[in-house]
Symmetry: D2
């Protein structure tokens, strides 16, 4: 809102949106970010409840619905256990520690910043960690992972389905197939994939699929989501190296009770966020998960076609590495920070680059959640104009035209 909070200058906000000869009204901004993303108001409005507590039957019921739906989202069946916990994607990652014991060995397959995060996280615990790393823009090949688990015995292998820092997609299904028999636990970070990429947890025989609310599910941030195989659940015990709040053992009975609509408590769940989540899940059900993935695919393709036609390069190095949700954009002359600042004045907000190897050379477009071809076209149009103004060699009008042809 334009009206600011005490001590915050609302005029600043207004100035920030002053464009080239006109002003973009504030709530009409497109948030083409990596999460949170532009959120459908039906989702936001579902949390507008002044009277729901964690023991309210209406909360218990939507929690039950959400847990069940989460299974479907990752392609799991009744034998898998879903968890919705307070926190974020990183909290969900740390929840995985609940399945590890002192001395376990983990192989981290890393395509960027969020792959590397597994190492930093696991290093806080008494477990051993090895990392297989791809160059920026590329992904670790399935055969490399296969070789690594043949050379060495690992309890767990972690992969990042879509690496949010570069927009690169790992072929997790193929990797899983190759290593399934050689490791105890296969973990996939689906933070930028669940809801927008094909996810077949059961078919791939993955043990943990995790994600966060604010990504392709199009919900505000505040929850980490995990689904565990029976094998993974069987490892939740007092022997694990996990702490307390993010220890899934403490949440197990709570989730099981809530799923059958029985009140249960360990720590306070983000009640209002779960109402929003249930509404998002309902909208996903109505759209159809396949349709939703297809929509993301088309939008992503339109954006990439548009970017190439306007004359900029994409971080992901090969077509099979392209993701449906995030695209890194490499610049030749313009400064990414200036681009981000300038596009906001025309009603589009993009995400900064975070991969240290590409620092100062790229920015990111998130295209997930409730995103439409209309958002893609508008984003490309703003980007063309802004990049041109900032000295990047751009074929003005060609990006939007190419995207338009791709959508027709």
């Amino acid at each position: 809102m334009l009206i600011g909070y005490l001590g915050v200058q609302p005029e600043d906000h207004c100035n920030r949106f002053k464009g080239r000869g006109y002003i973009i009204p504030m709530t009409r901004k497109l948030l083409m970010h990596v999460g949170p993303v532009t959120i459908d108001y039906d989702v936001l409005v579902a949390g507008l409840r002044g009277d729901v507590g964690f023991t309210s039957q209406e909360f218990i019921d939507v929690m039950s619905f959400s847990l069940k739906f989460l299974r479907k989202l990752v392609g799991a069946d009744e034998s898998y256990q879903p968890f919705i916990i307070p926190g974020s994607g990183t909290a969900a990652m740390e929840g995985v520690v609940s399945t590890l014991r002192r001395g376990d060995k983990v192989l981290v397959v890393s395509n960027g910043v969020f792959g590397d995060r597994w190492k930093a996280l696991l290093n806080r615990y008494p477990v051993a960690v090895d990392v297989l790393k791809a160059n920026p823009g590329d992904y670790v090949k399935p055969e490399e992972v296969e070789k690594a688990v043949e050379d060495e015995k690992y309890t767990m292998v972690t992969m990042t389905h879509v690496e949010t820092s570069t927009g690169v997609r790992e072929p997790v299904g193929e990797v899983a197939k190759r290593i399934r028999d050689k490791v105890e636990l296969i973990v996939v970070d689906g933070v930028s994939s669940v809801g927008a990429e094909v996810v077949k947890m059961k078919d791939y025989q993955v043990d943990v699929y995790l994600t966060a609310s604010q990504k392709a599910l199009g919900i505000p941030p505040g929850a980490g989501l995990l689904v565990l195989s029976e094998r993974a659940v069987s490892r939740l015990s007092d022997e694990s190296v996990a702490g307390y709040f993010l220890n899934l053992k403490n949440w197990l009975d709570v989730m099981r009770n809530l799923e059958v609509s029985k009140g249960s408590y360990f720590a306070t769940l983000p009640v209002h966020l779960v109402f929003m989540m249930a509404k998002a899940f309902e909208l996903i059900e109505r759209e159809g998960l396949e349709n939703r993935i297809k929509r993301h695919e088309r939008v992503a393709q339109g954006i990439r076609t548009g970017l190439e036609s306007m004359g900029v390069d994409i971080v992901a190095k090969r077509p099979e590495a392209y993701s449906n949700t995030v695209t890194g954009v490499l610049l030749k002359k313009a400064n990414p920070a200036d681009v981000l600042k300038e596009v906001v004045t025309e009603g589009v907000e993009l995400a900064p680059g975070v991969h240290p190897a590409l620092a100062g050379k790229y920015f990111r477009i998130g295209h997930m959640g409730w995103v439409t071809p209309n958002d893609a076209i508008a984003t490309l149009a703003v980007l063309e104009r802004v990049l041109k103004r900032l000295g990047e060699p751009i074929n003005l009008g060609e990006g939007v035209r190419a995207a338009q042809l791709s959508f027709s």
Copy 2:
């Protein structure tokens, strides 16, 4: 929301948005209509109050603020009297009857359906009405009006600033200058202009400027707004031919009291809508009225350029007839009804044509309120694709490219 009301099939809504291989989430639709238009959520949210009555001080205060702001919107000074009444633009038109007496003679300057509406309305009262009519797409020339008021004595001349049925703009300032000395009352229907076109009520010496909430002001429908000159106010009396509810004499003291923050009642005002109105006015103040008009002008120009480049014609026949708010689009082969039905499936809603002389040949794009260049680009992109599919000869990609160039 996807969830329907009792007896309404929510599936219908969902189907309606099924596009070409993807589905547009429902609340991401662009409403490029002639009113209501796409509304900023900050405006809508301002009405979310469960506890305000018409005697609540907080209502009285925002009513006071809104009345004062309305004067600024039309370029009037303190000597002018603003009115905010329940109803719509047509209710505001009928409010004008409060200044007429039995036997008065009115000249209606009509450029289309809403010009003609004055005649139908005034015919319900004991006053005489003559009409000066333009061909569809054109406007009545100032010199024609001047001649008419020289040939015959009229109490009142009514004009329509922007004719919503065709998107044609009347040069009301010039007309007013030419006829000012020859008629008692000059009335301008500013329904599709106030907030988006230059309006200088005092400079033009206009006696009544009226508008509606749901047009360029970007508020939901539910209120008619009028500003009256002292001369017009002096004619509010028991001798007028007006009825009761829309008789401005009954509202005069109420408006005067509310403006000085004193509670007052004649009939119940749309309390929640006035909160939304005040928020919209506040946003307009922050944007700056001049900036807002400039924004509308740029968007309108981009849309017209895009339409011409994709290969369709515009209803308004000459550039000086173009308006900032509504553009009629003429089709050669496609059926307008099919176009309207089809664009919705891609997330854009447009308005049907209503001018009887052009029936079945055109549709309208509304571009007012909180509209941005991003909305224009997205609308043109959808339109190009849909028209192409429906057999209209279209240069695919050329419309969006031309608009893009116009915005850079």
Copy 3:
């Protein structure tokens, strides 16, 4: 919201709620007013839609649902024609003029300010008007009306089901039975009754039942609602004395089209308000209309019991005049204006008295819409404390105790 609009001092709002040693947060206020009333947030939230126009299929569908539901609310069948028009209760009253022709004669049965309003309104038209008046707090007896229509030939008799200015209920069913054969049209103003009192339009053979959105239906103000018998509909014609906007003839086809989910236009309907209305109707359906009336009855009884036990008198003079929706409270010593000002500081807002014969002697409590026994208890508690402070002889604690016993 505490944050004010430009030019409005938010501090004022804050001060206004400063109570006796504590401050009541602003949105927790109880609006025990005569309309608008405390509104359920589910109803308000249903209007939070930034993308619906009057030709949007989703609007057309909820309008269809609302029209059908309106018939049920007044106990009419398919042969009756419902209307939802922009405006208010007074606009709905003036809509009745659409059934009158030059020279028709109307008998107004008046129990107070809103009864008298019929005369002021009808006097603007070329029809004759007689008035039968009750003393303040009383109602015109059925036999008096019967006698009047026997003595003189009237085209129309109007009654006010619950007189909002005094809270007095007219036995409209009995009156209708006595006069049915002697007049052409029986009209009931159900503004403070529909949704909270028993209304059997068909059984009573009433020709027009009208109401407003912001009363017992618990919707924001902005619409007038009417249901007409076939006989009333047959009188909608060009010969009527009605004007244009409130001329039901102009709305007839629109309502018929919208009811069968066909788009139709005469003037712009309050689109967002209709979404709220449909939600309210849905909630009424789920509660059950009979349950809803029973809830109003219990709350009203609790309030009256509480008032009497604390030691104040009620305006309505006899039990059979009591209404389910409005109670006038007579004061012995305290000034009503002071009471209204003071109760707000403790989080309850009441309505001023408006009957000229009781000026300065009473105020009103509205108890309609989504009102609960909890609201009644809280209101009585605040009232006891405030009246005591302002010098009224009050048995502190006795009012709430008596209400409590009445609810158990």
Copy 4:
């Protein structure tokens, strides 16, 4: 909302509210719970933003404002470091682990379930833990704590300001004074106190004060809040035994950057919740923190007076153990589970008892956040009626009368 999510039966909700001869509309329920509580709609609505990401300047600004305000809430000065992290109160408790090293020794002062939680939590880490326990309804005396820290060397002492399971308040200021020189770190769990009890972090020389969003601050759940002294901050290091996500060292720079309005990232913050938090903080500022505490005190006192007068006992054993936020209610005959189920049908939701020593003997009333005397009266009234119906010996009407007298 009555309309349910897919797979959830909305009828269930409706039935749940069917009372004794009437139905309570759903969103009018009073949530007198221990958190989340009844939330002011101004707070909820502040989160209704579809376009804010964690790098959006508007988020960074409200985060800056919120961090600064958090210091004021606990009575700290600029030398203290505030943290707002995703999670809940338990997450904030585990954040305290960031200040502990292998082998540290902690004394837990426990008055109930949430005191005991410190032990369970700390047991997951390589630190030693001793517990000083009070009987249910009582608190550990300051002199007992003093003696314990004299007998044994502890790195840290933890206290629970208000024990949510029993509503008992610990005199934390006095304890802190007695032990300040004898321990390195004093930690207070202010989950049910900050915003409603006097908190003077600096005066007491406490090192960590923590709380959660959904308690007396009146915000939805989803964030843990902590303020650390310089001494506590100096212990954030790689040597701590903490994990990753809840390791405050990882959040330190993020909080420092955000406070000076510089974008910063470690894990995704609950962006929308922070907007709600900032609005709540703004409302608290306007109310005045002292006024707010006084309001809680008066409401709590009214509730206790009412409970005693109706004839039930309170869990807290002595007046100096009473808290402003939670009251445990002991039953003689009725089953607490039945009481909770039944009060909901009359529009009030209360919290179950959780102290194992009192299992089946009590329930809890939460009275915090935006709670008013009106809520207290309504709650007592419902409770009286329900307890009476369920066979508890109750003086019907005496509870509400006594509360009423206490408020006047």
